[in-house]
Symmetry: C2
Subunit: 161 residues, 2 copies
């Protein structure tokens, strides 16, 4: 499978992965969520090859996940900021961080704590159902074909997720 053709596949996960399903891309976004915006700062913090960083940033801008904003003139220089589409990836990233905390933290505990400013507490991310508000468990979810289902999709059979 060629990944640049994946966006045509009728699967939201495959389409999402065609954009962010890459280690460097997600680490770049982690830095964005931590407030990093400039090329050299990304490079120094990630120790990423400049060529790879350049490619990823350009791709993320093309996809609308980041946007280039000029922060000085003479010479004009740009920084990379999250768009709303980029901010919408936060749930994915925070849940993955917490998975890492849970299964790969040092015995001492997680390296970083997340504090919810609204309530003032350190928290874990809990994924809940938009309809009933209960915490979601994969075993309690059923799949069924949606309006965008293609005729070909074998995955359209109702199946326990």
């Amino acid at each position: 499978m060629r990944w640049d053709s994946l966006d045509r596949e009728n699967c939201s996960l495959a389409r999402a992965l065609a954009v962010v399903g890459d280690r460097w891309t997600l680490l770049v976004l982690r830095e964005s969520f931590m407030g990093i915006r400039r090329f050299d700062d990304f490079e120094k913090r990630l120790k990423i090859a400049r060529r790879v960083l350049s490619e990823r940033l350009t791709m993320l801008v093309d996809e609308g996940v980041l946007r280039k904003v000029p922060y000085q003139e003479k010479p004009t220089r740009y920084e990379y900021r999250l768009t709303d589409k980029g901010f919408a990836l936060y749930p994915t990233i925070i849940t993955l961080v917490h998975w890492g905390d849970r299964f790969y933290a040092d015995s001492a505990g997680p390296p970083v704590l997340h504090t919810h400013r609204t309530c003032g507490h350190d928290f874990r991310a809990v994924v809940t159902c938009s309809e009933c508000g209960e915490a979601l468990d994969a075993r309690a979810v059923t799949l069924r074909p949606g309006p965008g289902t293609l005729r070909s999709a074998g995955r359209s059979r109702s199946k326990t997720a």
Copy 2:
């Protein structure tokens, strides 16, 4: 950076990505969540190179995300099932699927709908704070060093996420 050394880095996201930060790995897990368990079924559905599939499954078993369970003898054959650690990736996958639905669905709508058996409704995944129950926004989260922080970590400065 070599990815096999990433687990030693003091960052939960990097450690998590060292395991699941790969397109094929996440698509394999998607199939697992859809109930697929056998080598040939993964291969047929994903059209993945057998070599790559074999590698990914072995790695996921080594990491404890999947486990091999014999389902017949003569010859003994195994299927791959999610462990609890594997099920714990559901929040990450469901939020990424919904991100794909939101930004990459056909005009008709998402290809697959998710139904919560507990309440009977189609739902979106909402990430909430474990402490106050409110929906989380990246802008309302602050980072601070946790017990596992290394002395080296520049990321330990308190920073808006």
